[in-house]
């Protein structure tokens, strides 16, 4: 069981690291935005996994807030890019 948790958390951390590497290296600003947005998605999955790991169902609310609101920042930057803000 511990090995399974280790696998899950390692995959999540690797995903975060890869997305942040794209966000740090990306030559243009849209690359960086997409990298950070991928990080948001993987972090939501990590939070759901951790709520099961800590055995507290109420922690799920934090992941819910991120899932509902996580796209608004990306939307703001996208509207800036098409000169709409």
């Amino acid at each position: 069981m511990t090995a399974l948790w280790l696998l899950f958390l390692s995959l999540g951390a690797a995903g975060v690291a890869l997305c942040l590497a794209r966000a740090a290296a990306g030559p243009t600003t849209p690359d960086r935005v997409v990298g950070v947005d991928g990080t948001v998605t993987i972090s939501i999955a990590l939070m759901v996994l951790l709520s099961s790991f800590f055995d507290r169902q109420i922690y799920m609310d934090v992941a819910l807030v991120y899932a509902v609101l996580g796209f608004i920042g990306v939307l703001a930057v996208a509207r800036y890019m098409e000169r709409g803000v």
């Binding site: 975060v16 951790l50 807030v65 608004i72």
Partner: protein, 78 residues
């Protein structure tokens, strides 16, 4: 916890990126990344209330307010 070390290093790199980027939009996006990783760290420190506040503020409102201010002034730092 090796994961805390990974997340902390990633957060510090994002903060340094926010310092070094000349493009202010990229700096604000790096700031949003710092807020996101700080929210995960609050979660790992057993503070779901604080993590939720950081999520609700850092996900949308801070980025949008900075983007509006950059729209009204200038995009590049000279």
């Amino acid at each position: 916890m090796i994961y805390i070390a990974i997340l902390t290093v990633a957060m510090l790199i994002a903060g340094l990126a926010a310092y070094f980027f000349r493009d202010l939009i990229a700096a604000v996006v790096a700031c949003a990344a710092v807020s996101l990783i700080a929210s995960v760290l609050f979660y790992l420190l057993q503070a779901p209330d604080v993590a939720m506040a950081e999520a609700a503020i850092g996900a949308g409102l801070t980025t949008a307010i900075f983007v509006i201010a950059i729209r009204k002034t200038g995009r590049y730092e000279k």
